[in-house]
Amino acid sequence: MTLGFSLKRFGAVLYKEFIQMRRDRITFGMMIGLPIIQLFLFGFAINADPRNLPTLVEMGDNGPLSRAVIAGMQNSSYFAFKGAVTGAGEGEEALRRGTANFVVVIPEDFERDVVRGNKPEILVAADASDPSATGGAVAALSGIVNVAISETLTGPLAQQAGSPPFSMVVHREYNPEGKTSTNIVPGLLAIILSMTMVMITAVAIVKETERGTMEMLIATPVKPLEVMLGKILPYVFVGYVQTVVFLAAASLVFGVPFEGSVWAFFLGFNLFIVVNLALGFLISTAAKSQMQAMQLSFFTILPSILLSGFMFPFAGMPGWAQFIGQAVPATHFLRVVRKVMLKGGEVADVTGELWALVAILVVISAIAMLRYRQTLD
């Protein structure tokens, strides 16, 4: 089939594809504009470590120590005190209705008990129905309280401050400030690339069949390979543009570092684009209409979001789900991006991911080529 490959015909298909891309304003906008909007929207909107959570307080004791605890919590910026409650019922009601995520109860005679060494308990009732909303705050809580207490207890009382049996040390690697955008922005690149590359390739090819132009094309001497490459290459170009825009925004707007090897990134990125184009091509061999192509592409995107480790920690999934996740190209690209951008990875650090992408590519292309030959007839 490659015999007699004509650069001229390939160039003609390529040129035609660019003209069509330029004329189809909505799709063109979708390819360049939407990813940028998504980057800004999700980059700023998604926060796995939310702050300023509405909190109510029940002050059973109003001494300086109690006030220091409350002030310490407020200063941590996790908790935003919205007011005081009297009695347990009121606090419970607020939690149930969702007007508060936390209710802090300082027991009566708290300060006296601390001084006497009775180890009084501060009760923090947290709305754990959304653990990701309150988890960060809860984790930080004991540290905050300890600091507040030790700063207030001075002189002979200072010994009491050391008495809590344990203290928590939170050590955040690679993302010392715990900023979600550092984690989410590189991940978004993987998701947006797979979304646009798969969908647009699938739709672009099915469009020829649906509009009947494929019949005209096949009736000319043009070779399938010339058509395929000519149609796919413009979208590789789009992928490059998306990535450049993305990296620029990630660095300038979100301050995401790029620690590692550009080569490692470049290799992973190109492989990932090719895998996605092959996947789009495979979808186009199965879909009968552009609508079907869109729907099928969409089903490949959900696993890319949910099983790749983009949204939920990969290690937290059960074994079978990890197995499926391994077959998702975005899983490996996501690791490449995070390793290279955040952890300073070199080519040697990402060879496992690169090989995984190659393996996926071989399988997808093989199936796609088999199917494509059949659909010609």
Partner: protein
Amino acid sequence: MSEPLVIDVHGLTKNFGPKRVVDHFDIQVPKGAIYGFLGPNGSGKTTTIRMLCGLLTPDEGEGTCLGFDVRKQAEQIKEQVGYMTQKFSYYEDLSIRENLDFVARMYRLDRRKQRVDRALADLGLADRQKQLAGSLSGGWKQRLALAACLLHEPKLLLLDEPTAGVDPKARRDFWDEIRRLSAIGVTVLVSTHYMDEAVQCDFITYIAYGKKLIDGPSAKIPEMVGLETWRVEGPELARLEDRLLTEPGVVQVARFGTVLHVSGTDKAALGATVERLKAEGTHRWSLQVAGLEEAFIYLMTGARDNFAGDGGKAAA
């Protein structure tokens, strides 16, 4: 071309799943002929044309198109065939010029700009060349499609219902163009539903349910079908029509405006019936030469019986 036959295929068969779409189809098309390809919808015309130009590989059968093997030399056939699809198959979001230019590049034509310019001038679209093809009316789209498939000066034109949905004036112009091409030696195979187009063809083949029912020079088709036709004029034709269908010897009654064409294959039986009715004196009867139209109505209604019985004889 020393080869006298441009298309010469035998036993072409194509199945789509369990359905046999084309069943042992033979056709011999001489150079420069206009060959009409008739048959009801779904009879396998499009599939046959696609097999002839190498878009589909036949399941059975063999033969040559322009001297190349239809099974193995699709590439060479494509270089010299102009195929016009039933549905407009050029890019609606490209301009007229861009479409022609694209097609010219697909065939790697030399003097591309010149050829495209000439095609645009012939079309009368030179001043609208930047218009998008999608904004053209049906008739113009058809002209653009014809111009596009003529760009590489093919020796054989395969036209699949080229005039569907085109107004009568444009159809007439289209057929003038086809005859001009035929005169300079281009062979044309054209499928159609229109009888007025069928009569323009030098040869006609009729296909139904994937099988060929009849094939021959168009002037001889009525004779080959073997119909005798009487023309009837007079009052209350609808009642007469119902009555005629029960009479012996009458196979078909077709109404053309204010006259009925009564046909049958058994001349004696039909003659006797006509004599009897003539005696009633209510209608005027006259014997006339059976036309293509009656022949095709006959073929279409009797398709099944036909290929069970005397269809083979008629086609031979």
